[in-house]
Each structure stands twice: as C-alpha cells, then as structure tokens.
C-alpha cells in the first residue's frame, strides 16, 4: 500500500506536511501507523503556489529515492511555501518483478496537462486489462505513458475522460472524469471476469481542487495467491482520512487544524500525519470527496460512489 497526502488551503511550508509531524508522510516510508510494511518505491510531489513562476503548472518532483534520505527534497521543503500539494510515497511488493524507476513514481502528470494523480491501490490482473483499456485512452495521452504501473494507466484513462486534458477543469468535471474512469475499469474487469478485490484510492488535484476516492472493487474477495490484508494493516478497507479548518499549525508542540468561521485549509491522507488521530475524521468507504478552493474558502462535499 502506498501512502499519499493532498493539501489545499492557506500557504503552508511543504516541510510541515512532509517532515514536520510525528507521523509525517516521510516517516511513513518505514513507520506507517496503519500499515505494517515498508514503502520503498520512491517519492513524488506536485505543488502549486502563488510564489511559483507559473501558478497554474505544478512544481513536479519525482525520485525513486526515499524522502528520509533525500537531502535535496528536505532543503526544498524547508524553503517552499505552497497552497496546494499532492504528495505520494510509493509502496511496492517485495519481489523481483517490481520496477523501481522514476517513471513509476506518483503523482503522475503528463506534459501540458493541469491535473495530477496519485493512487493507493492495485488493479488485480492489470496485465489482462491493459490493452483493452488502450481503446479508451486518447492517443495524444497514451503516447506520454512511460512506466509500467497500473496507476499511470488509470491516470491516462482519467485524462481521457476530460473534454480537453490541457484545459482548466471545474470540480464537477473532475468528479465526472473520476467516476467515468472507475466505471470503465469496472466494465473492463467484468469483461475479463476479474472479480477479486482491487483498491482504488485516488488523489486527483489541479491546484484548485482535490478529488479523493476511498473505493474498492469486489472488496472482501481475495484470490488464493493473495494474502488477506487485515494482518498487515489496521483497516482491511484501504484507509483515507481528512482534517479541515482554518489553518494547520503546531501549537504548544501539537500539530492541529485550527477552528474558525470558515474552512480555509484541508488535508486528505491515507492516514493521519500525527500519531494522535483525534483531530482527524475517516472518509467513508465507497466515497468520493471533493475539496475546492474559492475566494479563500475551501468547499468540501462527499458522496457515495456507485459505479
């Protein structure tokens, strides 16, 4: 299982989100609270901020290295303030077949597009589905695929559901594209007779909106060669957590989301980035959550995903 995080709201130092807390995304490489394995497949982020040269194009950083050993990333994080972030620590199976290259590191962003995607999950029997999916991906998108992960294909599929992958998209358009992507994957699984569990926790962002899904196909059905997951993670259904408020700060040594008259900041993550979960809430299973920024206020909606 990968670990992922998305932020939207008031300007915040990237270091606060990646390294600052006692269960930070960087530390989840080796000590995730909800998952027993190491996450060794690399790290990536996409960040948006008024201080960047092009506020519409994210700063995109990907490396097969790990954030705990990456002094360049730490230096960058200590000096970079952003208003939106999608960050991802890639988990990989402990086996020879895994390909640890920068092309497989999330979040994915194809040149010229505004939307990025990080995924926490695995499409069962992806190799059987892959070339069937190709028919649903626009050629101008497909040619950007560089790696061999299911996640990059999911990203390409999602971009292909937008009327113009290079143009700005509304929150509703991103929601529809995400739902359409999940529906196409469901239909493709059905055609191939794939009926074992596949988690699809997606984090989609464009600097103004975050779409987060906590979703699985055929949850609770494990193939004989797969392990039942509960012994390796606290919640068998892949987790997603959220906290929202005025501003995420460290007060008296404790990282919390401050209250206020309106919501101005939100964090969505595979698991809380503090060991104390009490100021976070769980996103329900089979849900899609949308957070969008308008005039300094974050609007959040959540609804049941039926695809």
């Amino acid at each position: 299982m990968c670990r992922a995080l998305a932020y939207l709201g008031r300007p915040i130092l990237v270091d606060d989100l990646l390294y600052g807390t006692d269960s930070s995304l960087a530390s989840q490489v080796y000590d995730a609270e909800l998952y027993a394995y190491l996450n060794l497949g690399g790290f990536g982020l996409a960040a948006w901020g008024e201080g960047l040269a092009d506020p519409d194009a994210p700063l995109h950083y990907r490396t097969p290295s790990l954030p705990i050993f990456d002094r360049n990333l730490r230096s960058l994080a200590r000096n970079l303030t952003v208003e939106a972030l999608v960050a991802h620590v890639r988990g990989v199976f402990y086996e020879h077949g895994e390909s640890l290259t920068v092309h497989n590191v999330h979040p994915f962003r194809f040149e010229g597009t505004r939307v990025v995607l990080g995924m926490n999950g695995t499409l069962s029997r992806f190799a059987e589905m892959r070339y069937d999916l190709l028919g649903q991906i626009r050629p101008e998108v497909a040619r950007h695929i560089e790696g061999n992960t299911d996640s990059e294909w999911v990203y390409a599929l999602l971009l292909s559901q937008l009327s113009d992958p290079a143009a700005p998209a509304t929150p509703r358009q991103l929601e529809r594209a995400t739902e359409a992507t999940l529906r196409i994957l469901r239909e493709t699984r059905d055609r191939h007779g794939i009926d074992t569990a596949s988690e699809m926790n997606l984090l989609v962002g464009d600097g103004r909106t975050i779409i987060a899904t906590r979703f699985a196909y055929d949850y609770g059905w494990y193939s004989p060669e797969e392990t039942y997951h509960a012994k390796h993670r606290r919640y068998d259904f892949t987790s997603l957590w959220c906290t929202a408020g005025r501003e995420y700060v460290c007060r008296d040594g404790e990282w919390i989301m401050l209250g206020g008259d309106r919501l101005e900041s939100v964090i969505v993550a595979s698991e809380p980035i503090t060991k104390d979960f009490s100021t976070w809430v769980e996103v329900p299973e089979y849900a899609m959550m949308t957070a969008s920024l308008r005039d300094g206020t974050v609007e959040i909606t959540a609804r049941e995903l039926v695809v």
């Binding site: 055929d218 949850y219 609770g220 059905w221 494990y222 392990t227 039942y228 509960a230 012994k231 068998d236 259904f237 959220c242 906290t243 929202a244 408020g245 005025r246 919390i256 989301m257 401050l258 209250g259 206020g260 919501l263 060991k275 104390d276 979960f277 009490s278 100021t279 976070w280 809430v281 769980e282 996103v283 329900p284 299973e285 089979y286 849900a287 959550m289 959040i300 909606t301 959540a302 609804r303 049941e304």
Partner: protein
C-alpha cells in the same frame, strides 16, 4: 456509596454484583484506588487503553475531540458507572478524554492484571467478561441511537424496509478452514476448535444488495462475513448512515442478538458475499457456557463487538464534522 474492604466495594457495582466471595477476592487483588480533583483528567483521547475505572463517588464527563478544535460531549459519568471498559476487551487507544467535574474517587483494574485472571480461566473473570459484553452492547445501542438522532428524524419516520429475502443455509465448506483461520474473528481459535465452530455455522451465498437483517426485527443468528462485505446502516427518512462495513472475519449485527432485543441496523450486502450464520440459541449457549470453545468464542465476540463500537464512533465523528460544515455528506 461506601464500603469497608475492596471486596465489598466491588460487590456494590452491577458489573461485579452476585460474584462468589472468592471471585470477588480475586478481582479485589487486582484493583487499586484512584482519586481526581475537579478539572483533572482520568485519561486522554489517544492514550493506550490499559485500565477500567469504576466510579465510587463524584462526577466526570467524557468528550471526544474533532477537527478544528471542536469537542463532542459524549456522556456524564456518576457513581456506580464504568469508564474505559473497552480496555479490558480490546485495548487500543482511548477514544475519548475523561475528566473530573467534581472530586471523584473509585477503583481501577489494569488490563494486564485482569488478563492474568482471564488466562487462568478464573470463573470470576469469565463472569465479568460476559457482563462486559452486555455493557459494550448497551453502549453500541446508545451510539446507534445517537447516530439515528443525528440523522435528524424520529425512528417512527424511518423508511419502511421490506423483510429480508429468505436465503438457503448450507453447511460451511471444509476447504474454507485455512482461509477462515486468517480472519480476525477466527484467528485465535486452535485448529480443532475452529473446525468444530465452522462445523456449526451455516453458509449463505448472497448477491449484492441482499437484505440480511432488518432494523426492528429480532436477530435470529450471528452473521459473520467470510467473503465480500455486508454494510450495517441506520436509516431515517431519506437519510442513511453506514455504521459498519463488515468485511471478512467480522459481524454486522450484535445489538439485538446479545441483549435479546430487536436489531438497530439494516444489514445489506455491499458486495456479493458469503456469510456464516450461527443460530441465536447456540450463540447464547456458547457465550454463557463453560466449554473451552465457548471461552474463545466469548473472546472473539468481544473483540469484534468492541471493534463495531469503535467503527460507530468513527462514523459518528465524521457525521458530526460534516454537519458542522466540514463536508456536505450524502449517502452512507
């Protein structure tokens, strides 16, 4: 409330009332007194849950933190009441902060001390564990009621749900024992006990959307998901809240089964599912009896019941946060 010896004090609490003198002595040996002044915390949310408190005098309040510096007031606690009973069953982390409103005193039983009694199969410990089952079940029923109230309409206005479809009960398949042994409910059973238990469970094969249990009906069996998922929901009018997604190795409905009342939730398959069923009479026989299989069964039920309560607490926190403006939440 006043008593001269620890044994006498324990015997005044409903949880321990009726225990034999030697059983009370066993328990008294592992209790220690506690005192708190007004404003002092008994424990804080997120700390390890490692002890059960029994209030002799005074008053406390329990509150749960929410995002954006909000708090949810959960309960006022007075003499004779228990605090942190989940610690004796499930451990984990405290799900609320409890602080004294008035000067408060009582006794505390630490989990490790109680575990040693339980491991020795002391009758007193088993009796307390059975009663704790009832206490947790009552907590769960009240939690579900609070969630129902939070949905905004009275129970009488709940949308009529048609009765469950009759399903065919088949014997559990032998080949499923190895798989079941990895699942939470069954993982603590030795192979022989697990074989016996699975031999007593019927097997239901259900399609997505099948209704298994209807709120307001008596529970006729314990239903444990083997494969797939069953969701337990509370519905009020058009609004519905999922309170548990019972995946492999978990049960969807305990309220109404343990307390022999009526169920509080609708249970419907969220995925196609294979569900194992233990008839109600045999469920109570195992829970109340003194056979070794029953001891492990009681432990398994308690662990899952506590998890169901924690699931409901997390969902209530999400629901309240959404209502307070964090999210416009639709559907379960």
């Amino acid at each position: 409330m006043s008593a001269s010896t620890p044994d006498e004090l324990l015997s005044t609490f409903p949880l321990f009332a009726g225990l034999a003198p030697d059983e009370l002595t066993d328990l008294a040996r592992v209790t220690k007194p506690f005192e708190r002044r007004p404003g002092e915390c008994l424990f804080r949310q997120g700390e390890p849950a490692d002890s059960l408190y029994v209030v002799e005098s005074g008053r406390l309040e329990s509150v749960a933190r929410l995002p954006a510096e909000r708090e949810l007031s959960l309960a006022a606690i007075g003499p004779g009441e228990l605090i942190g009973e989940l610690a004796l069953v499930g451990g984990g982390a405290r799900t609320a902060t409890v602080r004294a409103v008035e000067a408060t005193r009582g006794v505390v039983i630490e989990r490790h001390a109680f575990d040693s009694l339980r491991a020795g199969l002391r009758p007193g410990a088993r009796a307390v564990m059975r009663r704790l089952c009832g206490v947790v079940c009552d907590r769960l029923r009240r939690r579900y009621a609070a969630i129902g109230t939070g949905l905004g309409e009275n129970e009488e206005q709940a949308q009529a749900v048609p009765p469950p479809r009759r399903v065919e009960l088949r014997p559990a398949a032998e080949r499923e024992q190895e798989y079941a042994s990895r699942l939470p409910f069954f993982s603590a059973f030795p192979a022989g006990d697990l074989e016996r238990l699975l031999g007593e469970l019927g097997r239901l094969e259900l399609v997505r959307g099948d209704l298994l249990v209807r709120a307001g009906d008596p529970l006729d069996a314990l239903y444990l998901t083997l494969r797939g998922a069953v969701e337990a929901t509370i519905q009020r009018g058009e609004r519905k809240q999922r309170v548990r997604l019972a995946g492999p190795g978990t049960g969807c409905a305990y309220v109404g089964l343990i307390d022999k009342g009526t169920g509080s939730v609708d249970c419907r398959t969220r995925e196609r599912a294979v569900v194992l069923a233990l008839p109600r009479d045999r469920f109570h026989q195992l829970l109340q009896g003194d056979e070794p299989l029953g001891h492990r069964f009681l432990d398994a039920v308690q662990r899952d019941l506590v998890q169901a309560l924690r699931d409901a607490e997390r969902r209530q926190a999400t629901l309240i946060s959404a209502r307070a403006g964090h999210a416009d939440s639709r559907g379960p």
